[in-house]
């Protein structure tokens, strides 16, 4: 069965950190990167993320597929932005430095290029951190991390359950598809869109009904063990915070603070504007 969350086991300080501190760092970092449109700041984050990658001993070869996927996604998004709104940069920065005219309403401006640079850098600054989190955090530790950062343990537990049952449901889906194909149901690209939708729901019906049974079985088992009786619970994967964990959380906080300072005092807004 394919490992969907791409956890790669290595020995590195980043792997040794608790999932909770990495999650805090990830959330603060992505929020900081999301709110600022300052290319200098975003580029610094990108470089910092590369350094963290080096420490984690995750190689580019490990994540090549995901990087490729993200790159295409990012490219399409940029293309779409330009197609729909070639003057978006001008609207944001309030000035217009034309480079050359393409055709019709499409004119390349410096402002637009800066905006696209920002969008690119936003991906470059956040994607490595998300990948780092995904490749260095054991999914089964993830749930206890959620609980650690203040998510109600019942909700955290349902995330753990979801992660636990994804492979099972995936296998079941696969089995149902194979048995349908054995009976001659066309599911490949050759069938029309409507026909594929119909066969897809044909596959789903048995999957859903067996999942509904599963819900009964699991919740009965949990109730028999008095799940949810107490206000708190302990976690098998619980670990104590170390200096690295505090370091990671401080780093996340620093990123967010710098982003806020840049927005509030340096750039007087979310955008770094070199055109005024």
């Amino acid at each position: 069965m394919m490992n969907i969350f791409n956890y790669i086991e290595r020995r590195s300080p980043i792997h040794a950190m608790t999932g909770a501190s990495k999650l805090v760092c990830l959330l603060l970092w992505s929020f900081g990167a999301m709110s600022s449109f300052d290319p200098r700041f975003l580029f610094a984050l990108f470089v910092l993320a590369l350094v963290l990658f080096k420490i984690s001993k995750i190689r580019v070869a490990d994540i090549r597929f995901m990087l490729w996927f993200t790159f295409v996604f990012c490219l399409l998004n940029n293309l779409l932005i330009f197609l729909f709104s070639p003057m978006h940069g001008t609207e944001i920065y309030g000035s217009c430095h034309e480079i050359f005219h393409i055709a019709g309403r499409y004119t390349l401006t410096q402002e637009q290029l800066l905006y696209h640079l920002n969008v690119f850098l936003k991906y470059a600054a956040t994607i490595p951190i998300v990948l780092l989190f995904v490749t260095t955090t054991d999914p089964s530790e993830f749930a206890s991390s959620l609980n650690r950062i203040g998510v109600n343990y019942k909700i955290a537990y349902s995330v753990a359950l979801a992660l636990r049952y994804i492979p099972d449901i995936q296998r079941e889906y696969h089995d149902i598809t194979l048995s349908l194909q054995a009976r001659g149901v066309e599911m490949s690209k050759k069938a029309s869109l409507g026909a594929r939708l119909k066969t897809a729901s044909g596959t789903l019906v048995p999957l859903i009904l067996s999942s509904m049974d599963r819900i009964e079985v699991i919740s009965n088992a949990m109730e028999l063990r008095s799940f949810g009786k107490n206000k708190k619970r302990t976690w098998y994967r619980y670990r104590k915070f170390t200096a690295w964990d505090f370091g990671a959380m401080l780093l996340g906080l620093a990123v967010l603070l710098i982003s806020v300072v840049l927005t509030a005092f340096v750039n007087h807004g979310r955008y770094f504007n070199p055109f005024v």
């Binding site: 197609l83 939708l197 729901s201 919740s219």
Partner: protein, 182 residues
């Protein structure tokens, strides 16, 4: 049938897992980039109608966040939240559709579909684009077009897949007055 909290927790988990599997492995690409024709909303609609807003909201949120995590393109919070909003709105239909106790036909199918249309429009034409503009400062005409395409595709798929699933699920539940005294 009373929904105990434990049952809701498990329903959230299985709902999120199904959402994930359907969204990740059964995706049929649409002509507009970054937008798939996704049958997972049919599943989420069934969970909303069967278990209510709380379960569907969290199942949508967790399932969508897990999909984004597994692709590694970063979490696109605006769309994750939109999925949660869809779950919340379709979940309100639970008390009108009454999958567990009443027969799912005619009027109830229409009610269910009106709910899912409203939920999709709210999620993809209102919530997702506005959050995209606020969070990522994207051009409004691009995000609204993406929203419209997503809403339209999702409404059609949910109308087909969701309705079929609800009919199948409802058929497995014993109905009120299904026993006759002779």
């Amino acid at each position: 049938m009373k929904n105990t909290p434990v049952k809701s927790i498990v329903a959230i988990a299985i709902g999120a897992a199904l959402f994930f599997v359907c969204g990740r492995f059964v995706a049929i690409p649409s002509p507009v980039p970054n937008t798939n024709i996704s049958i997972q909303y049919g599943v989420l609609a069934l969970f909303g109608a069967a278990f209510g807003p709380f379960v569907a909201l969290l199942a949508g949120f967790i399932g969508h966040a897990l999909i984004d995590f597994s692709y590694g393109w970063g979490i696109w919070w605006s769309w994750v939240i939109a999925s949660a909003v869809f779950g919340l709105v379709i979940g309100i239909s639970k008390n009108h559709v009454k999958l567990a106790t009443e027969k799912f036909d005619g009027k109830r199918i229409v009610t269910f579909n009106i709910y899912q249309i409203v939920a999709h429009v709210l999620a993809w034409v209102v919530v997702a684009p506005i959050l995209d503009i606020v969070m990522y400062a994207e051009p409004w005409n691009k995000v609204f077009l993406q929203g419209f395409v997503a809403a339209l595709a999702n409404i059609v798929t949910t109308a087909i897949v969701g309705t079929i699933l609800c009919v199948a699920y409802s058929a497995t539940k014993p109905k009120k007055d299904s026993l006759e005294k002779k």
